[in-house]
Subunit: 188 residues, 2 copies
Amino acid sequence: MSTNRRRSASATRAAILDAARVRFAAEGLDRVTVRDIAGDVGVDPAMVIRYFGSKEGLFAEAARFDLELPDLGDVPPEEFMDVLMPHFFSVWENNAGFLALLRAATTDKKSAAKMLDLFTEQVAPALAAAAVDRAPERAALLGSQMLGLVLSRYVLGVPPLVEMDRERLRDWIAPVLRHYLTAEPPSA
Amino acid sequence: MSTNRRRSASATRAAILDAARVRFAAEGLDRVTVRDIAGDVGVDPAMVIRYFGSKEGLFAEAARFDLELPDLGDVPPEEFMDVLMPHFFSVWENNAGFLALLRAATTDKKSAAKMLDLFTEQVAPALAAAAVDRAPERAALLGSQMLGLVLSRYVLGVPPLVEMDRERLRDWIAPVLRHYLTAEPPSA
DNA sequence: CCCATAAGTCAACAGCTGTTGACCTGACTG
DNA sequence: CAGTCAGGTCAACAGCTGTTGACTTATGGG
């Protein structure tokens, strides 16, 4: 029964950040209060401000993450999807920050801008090696399908998509991604 | 210069509803206040509550709409996309209610449920005539691409998608929709 | 053992929110 | 022309929000 009420500053900071990610991912930026997060950690709301400056600062940190997309330059084209799809699933299902950002991006301009950065600074370059030409256009189209899938499966919970297992989903989606990546673009 | 400050109740109600649709579509459910909407119409916030009961009631009405999807039973399969795509564009670009609902659906559970209803009660049945089998699964996949496109183009504003004209977008997307609608499903 | 200090609490603030009920007012009707 | 009543205003409420500064307490190093 040793009274372990005190912890190190960095541990508390990390606990707040974790709780924030979970909350923001599940309920969205506007519907989560500083008091909610502090409550989850068992700490006074003032600590949140102390460690992160503001709610906005906390969110910015909670929604920051790296897609760590593999370099497709080393991968033979016919294996692109075997590399890409598992990676996407892993990001969506293990990274609360991504869902948090997606939820916020529909109403918060800064989050929307951050989402765009993700595209132009991480997705587009990674796909540039795979796309035959017009990389930004192809990346945007591919991204739209990916975002729509995340939205439908993890945010809205569209039943057929929730029930479908990863393999079947991959088999449905992969030809589409291939299409966006390698198909001849529409005439002129 | 006759003082037309008074209008009919129904005219005021309609004006509030219009302003609400625009605001909700542009800023989302949580970031729009009753005072904002009332201000747009030039009316006291109390009127909003008088005519719609609550903010929630107003939103429910503002986000209610009909997709009016055509019956694909009469259309030969090779013309599906010629019928579907213009219809989708028309809904997205002339119907603020749809954007309002999409923005809200990422955080508001009732809105998410309403979005699901839209799928199961309007999209899936309309596509049932076009899909060879497994209509709900195919409709969900098709819907995910459509939602992703709306999100990317009209909400996030992904540059390549914003700049692309409707025809080119149709040419990119149509094969994908066809794939979801008619392709052999993944093995078992 | 003591005390400086890191870690945390507490109460309060100012602002905004949806919502309410009492009140006002202009126009039509008898 | 008086009075009714639909259409609209007004002030205020209670609750919640992010944020602040002053206070408290445990703990580890001298």
